[in-house]
């Protein structure tokens, strides 16, 4: 998420929560979110780091025609390629504005050299440079753009089971350790809550297949005994 406006609280960040939900629905394991300022060096360092470490990277923001829109230049500079005008995007701009196009708007067609256009939006495709998908920051546009590429990322969703407990975490900890040791392929999470009254801790069990998640949940329920709360519904 690239934007001084998020860090300064001028706008709430809608794009990260949206992307969290989309990636979860697609079965994609989200590893990291960074919210950074409109600063060439910060953007460059972050995309280089993320591009190397993760399969896919999504950026939001900094792609308009004004002085604070530096994402394209920053990515290009970080990978030592020039920015150039993408002919297909330029044509979209000229068809839209005609003679009345403000010269600064040509920046909307700037991309790092070597970029591809991806997705199924017939008008304005998404710019992809290496494994970095460069999306706009305005939430309505971010959503529309992501919708045009979302099927590129569909993966196998994880199965999740939840167990709610009436005891506090300290009491559960040694029993959780047993399940963690016996089911190394499952990921267990323990989340205390202090406002709900029906339970005190929510345990989540995630696994690549349902049989494994169920086996782990059955074992953990046995370990927890009457500490388990059966929530209605």
């Amino acid at each position: 998420m690239i934007g001084d406006e998020i860090l300064a609280g001028k706008f709430a960040d809608e794009n990260a929560p949206f992307l969290v939900g989309e990636l979860r629905a697609l079965g994609v394991d989200l590893r990291r979110i960074a919210v950074i300022p409109d600063d060439r060096a910060e953007i460059g360092a972050t995309v280089v780091d993320f591009s190397r470490r993760f399969d896919h990277v999504f950026t939001s923001g900094g792609v308009g025609p004004t002085h604070d829109d530096v994402t394209m230049e920053a990515i290009a500079a970080a990978f030592a390629v020039p920015v150039e005008v993408e002919p297909r995007l330029e044509k979209v701009l000229r068809d839209h504005w005609g003679q009345a196009m403000a010269p600064a708007n040509i920046r909307l067609a700037h991309v790092p050299r070597g970029s591809e256009l991806v997705g199924d939006d017939p008008i304005w495709p998404v710019v992809r440079f290496r494994n970095i998908h460069i999306l706009p920051g305005v939430p309505t546009l971010f959503r529309r753009k992501f919708a045009s590429i979302r099927e590129l990322f569909r993966d196998r969703p994880v199965t999740e089971r939840r167990i709610y407990c009436r005891a506090e975490e300290g009491t559960l900890a040694p029993r959780l350790e047993v399940a963690v040791a016996e089911f190394p392929a499952c990921k267990l999470g323990s989340y205390p809550r202090f406002e709900e009254t029906a339970y005190r801790v929510m345990i989540t069990i995630e696994a690549a297949d349902a049989a494994l998640a169920d086996a782990c949940a059955t074992r953990l329920r046995a370990l927890l005994g009457d500490l388990v709360v059966d929530l209605p519904g």
Copy 2:
């Protein structure tokens, strides 16, 4: 923000938006937010990086007694110090639970060696290691803990002025460039919106003092002429 549960979408991240608002009200310039998994190496690398680059660092999450609470160990390991039991925190725990305390809960008193206790909470102070303030992830607790240390960070708030425009960003861009060049001590932001009908772009002007922000706003209004929208209210 440390927590698989945020990245996986099990819980919405309430702490980052809360902190954005608090820091803005305090006049603190927030430079970066990272949301990372409950992973020792990730936590360690991130806190070392942030601790070196920024004046203050706040962490949220991973401080309970279960297997997925690794923040204290990760910070200690990253700075090559051991984790130890903090006597004042241990006393709070033992006074609270007495003989009935589950052994795992002693982990709630674990801190990296060299930590201090800060803030005005008489019961459970905040653990600070170097410039890293280690806060819990549960939103109600995060808010209460931050409230106990917030006055340590009060700074001089920036002044912000806003100008709303009826033209699109490409038309505004060259005039904004003039103001950016003439007022290097001001930070100008340009934010297009496509859903509001009263204006198309919001421009923000931020400066360390009100006279400078006003001077820049006056100049920019002159440059923009009748592109400025006077919003009621």
